[in-house]
């Protein structure tokens, strides 16, 4: 069984618990074990970098060092955590002086960063490490007729790591096709959900959420699939505020992509915490036949 060090992150403890349980359950079906990192700390989101860069690197490096101790690659389902760990890992590897300074601080917790593991987003584990063939083989309940707007958001794509496609990626659509769903043409799929602006700059944030909702609905989607807890909360929980702000009446369910893979692998909806959304996806999911669902 393939094994990773798993960093759930603060949001997945409660607000996005459905992402947490559905990630573990889906990966389990694919024969991948996610071993939660012992005593992990917050990745810092975007706020640490507003205050102090060295501190931001140190706090991320503690988690990298914890994963190194287990000799496992680190996987994060939250796009924000993933981005912070990926680039901290890269910068510290390139800059031995920076790594020295960070290691001086890590000594206080008997930890050391050596730079010998890689950082993966959960989506990469699905798409690259497991692969579509194996995923297809595990589908017992294809999500036939479910039209999905694949919302990439920002941080699984940007900043660019190498020379990857950042304007028109298709791996998310391919993953949805692999589980039998129908990805729709969603023009705003790589635009920003507004991130923390929902707290700091409400007006700007609501307009960004509105654009995404309108684009997804116009594309004919039954549901938006996300790979980030911040995107999910901004897109789902603020629909009422968007409607109030712009005098419109729109609504579309927003699920984690792992809830959809879980359904396709035959996992019961309640085990994926489907039903804990503010915009219930029940009507959208009602067409999916039960297939060989297990309990």
């Amino acid at each position: 069984m393939k094994k990773y060090a798993y960093f759930p992150g603060c949001s997945l403890e409660k607000m996005a618990l459905s992402y947490n349980v559905s990630s573990i359950a889906s990966m389990n079906k694919l024969g991948v074990e996610l071993q939660e990192l012992d005593d992990w700390n917050c990745c810092g989101a975007t706020a640490y970098f507003h205050i102090d860069e060295l501190l931001a690197y140190t706090l991320c490096a503690r988690n990298l060092a914890l994963a190194e101790k287990e000799n496992l690659d680190l996987v994060a389902p939250c796009a924000g955590c993933y981005k912070n760990f990926y680039f901290t890992n890269a910068h510290l590897k390139e800059d031995p002086d920076l790594a020295d300074h960070v290691n001086f601080a890590l000594e206080e917790d008997d930890l050391h960063f050596s730079g010998n593991i890689s950082v993966r987003h959960l989506m990469e584990v699905f798409v690259q490490d497991v692969g579509f063939e194996e995923i297809k083989a595990k589908v017992s309940r294809p999500l036939k007729d479910l039209k999905v707007a694949t919302y990439y958001g920002c941080q699984i794509l940007r900043p660019r790591k190498d020379h990857e496609e950042t304007e028109q990626p298709v791996f998310f659509e391919d993953l949805m096709s692999a589980i039998g769903a129908t990805p729709v043409d969603f023009p705003e799929k790589v635009r920003c959900c507004s991130g923390a602006l929902i707290i700091t700059n409400r007006k700007a944030a609501l307009s960004m959420v509105r654009n995404l909702m309108m684009s997804a609905i116009k594309s004919g989607a039954d549901v938006i699939a996300t790979a980030c807890p911040m995107c999910q909360v901004n897109l789902e929980c603020y629909q009422k505020q968007v409607n109030q702000e712009f005098g419109i009446d729109l609504s579309i369910p927003v699920l984690y992509f792992t809830q959809l893979t879980g359904l396709a692998f035959g996992i019961a909806p309640n085990k994926l915490r489907i039903g804990t959304e503010l915009v219930l996806p029940t009507p959208a999911l009602s067409n999916i036949r039960r297939g060989s669902a297990d309990a």
Binding site: C10, Y48, L55, A105, V190, I199, M208
Partner: protein, 187 residues
Amino acid sequence: MADKLTFSDEISNLLHASHGNPLKACIQCGTCSGTCPSTPFMDQSPRRLIAMINANMKDEVLASNTHWYCASCFHCTVRCPSEIDIAELMYALKRYSMWKNQYQEDLIGPTFSETFVKTIFNSGRSYEPVLATSYLFSLGVQEFLSEAQTATGLMLKGRLPLLPARIKRLKNFRRMIGRIIPVGGIS
């Protein structure tokens, strides 16, 4: 005697950790402004702000809300034909303006960032209810009610934490932070 650093040099120096080109490479094409989803809400567009930095218009740059409207989506960064890491520039400006304590008074961003980091110092984890205090009272009545309604909905669905989480080795963690920045009360 050493030459006095210009504001433009200071900001460029803050960008040492990001691997993009210097701001002087900007050709003023406006791709960043056209890409940024926040541009309509900024008092200076990203393109204009870069020109202002290059012209050493320090007070005007720090008085603008532009960097605090950056959501860190990095769309400008990946599109910039001159390969300037504009999102990193916005981070650098946020740090600089907090360091100089020079920013528009009605902004929530600086308080939010500080509250966030303090929460981490105290527990090693973030905790939504504490973060909420940094912005709740800036909302209008209608917005406040909507926010309370959303929070209640999340609570009923079991999606809001009632108690803050904290890491186990908190003492080590805080001593670790103390080796990076001296913080009062951390021993």
